[in-house]
Subunit: 233 residues, 2 copies
């Protein structure tokens, strides 16, 4: 990591030197009981690549990650959590920051009680009721105006229908600056895969990026972030 | 794997040579929609270790595994599946066998419909109803008497309360020969850990095994399996 950091400093690419970034990545797991949980599918690959790209450009980068099979990215401080509530707490603890990129696939809902005893089939054929309650909305919470709001807040939208429409509405509803949208329909191979096809939704026209490896999406996004912060100076 | 197989053949430990075994391991993931699923916690470590131990003793071993981060065990044929229904189909396809060891943490329930579109929060604060239906019971299905029933069927019971009582009742209810029971209460470190403390429930008195590494539990169980099949000849 030290070599990477030195390399970034001396390569002329330290476009984000002196900036602080927080990135969320991976799924969250919401326990139902000691052995069961509700989860979102997310390999974490895109978020980890973004954290690594920001660090390569010189940003002091903090990654808040749900359960993944990935190693810590080089040069990045990593906090591993399990639930949406833990992710929100760890993300808020990483503020203030100049940049927040919320890439995690946070579970919208959690079981309304998590018990310390395992739920059992009782032989009646009756299904136990599974009550759900809404999780905190990390992107919307981070996006609220205030002294701790990062100057640039970027959300992700993994959609299966009308990708641009939903993502544009999501940007307005959440109060974030940009949305990176992608189509995760079964068959696209994006979920868990190494490539991604994204659309960048800003206040202007949507930008459609060519399909490319997730590492390249990450570097292109990190460079756009650096440009945006320079423009805003 | 070839070296391992030859080693087993010539080491004098090929106690299960000529036997066929099927082992299930890992969790199942039950999709709710393209991005969400219900899962059981299971690293798969104990089941993978058992499959490897059976193969080391010379058994032709087929492992049916849910999603895990583990590499295929040496000398074992592996079929990877995701849901309980897929696990049942793959296990039945691996029969006939002399030995079935059902170590997987199969989800008791699945969502009653899995949709190809992502469920959305609609801003109403209303929670979408999540209907659950019971999954097939793989251990009970395999244990039913008939020409394809393995001579020895072993189930697992991961419990948090009254471990021996539940496991003894489970053995009778499922119709299997043995139950390997363990206490997975939070704090035991067994779930996901490398050690295990198990109790072997047979038709006789419960046996309490000392805490030991999962690989050692696996070899001890494989040797007990070999003894039992020899006694039954």
């Amino acid at each position: 990591e030290i070599v990477d950091a030195i390399e970034a400093q001396f390569s002329g690419h330290a476009l984000l030197a002196g900036r602080k970034a927080v990135v969320t990545a991976g799924p969250t797991h919401e326990p139902i009981d000691p052995v069961r949980y509700i989860a979102n599918r997310s390999s974490g690959k895109q978020g980890y690549a973004i954290a690594e790209a920001l660090a390569r450009l010189g940003a002091e980068t903090h990654l808040v990650s749900g359960p993944t099979a990935l190693p810590d990215p080089a040069g990045v401080q990593v906090t591993r959590i399990e639930t949406a509530r833990e992710m929100l707490a760890a993300t808020e603890a990483a503020l203030p920051a100049d940049i927040a990129i919320c890439c995690a696939a946070v579970a919208d809902w959690r079981a309304d009680t998590s018990t310390n005893s395992k739920l059992k089939k009782d032989g009646s054929g009756q299904i136990p009721p599974l009550g759900l309650v809404e999780n905190p909305d990390i992107l919307a919470t981070i996006s609220v105006a205030g002294p701790k709001r990062p100057r640039l807040v970027v959300g992700f939208a993994a959609e299966t229908d009308d990708v641009i429409g939903y993502a544009t509405a999501k940007r307005q509803r959440k109060g974030c600056d940009w949305i990176v949208a992608n189509d995760v329909s079964p068959g696209t191979g994006i979920m868990g895969g190494d490539d991604n096809t994204v659309h960048l939704i800003t206040a202007g026209d949507p930008e459609h990026w060519d399909p490319m490896p997730k590492a390249q999406v990450a570097m292109k996004l990190a460079e756009r972030v650096a440009d945006a912060l320079t423009d805003k100076q």
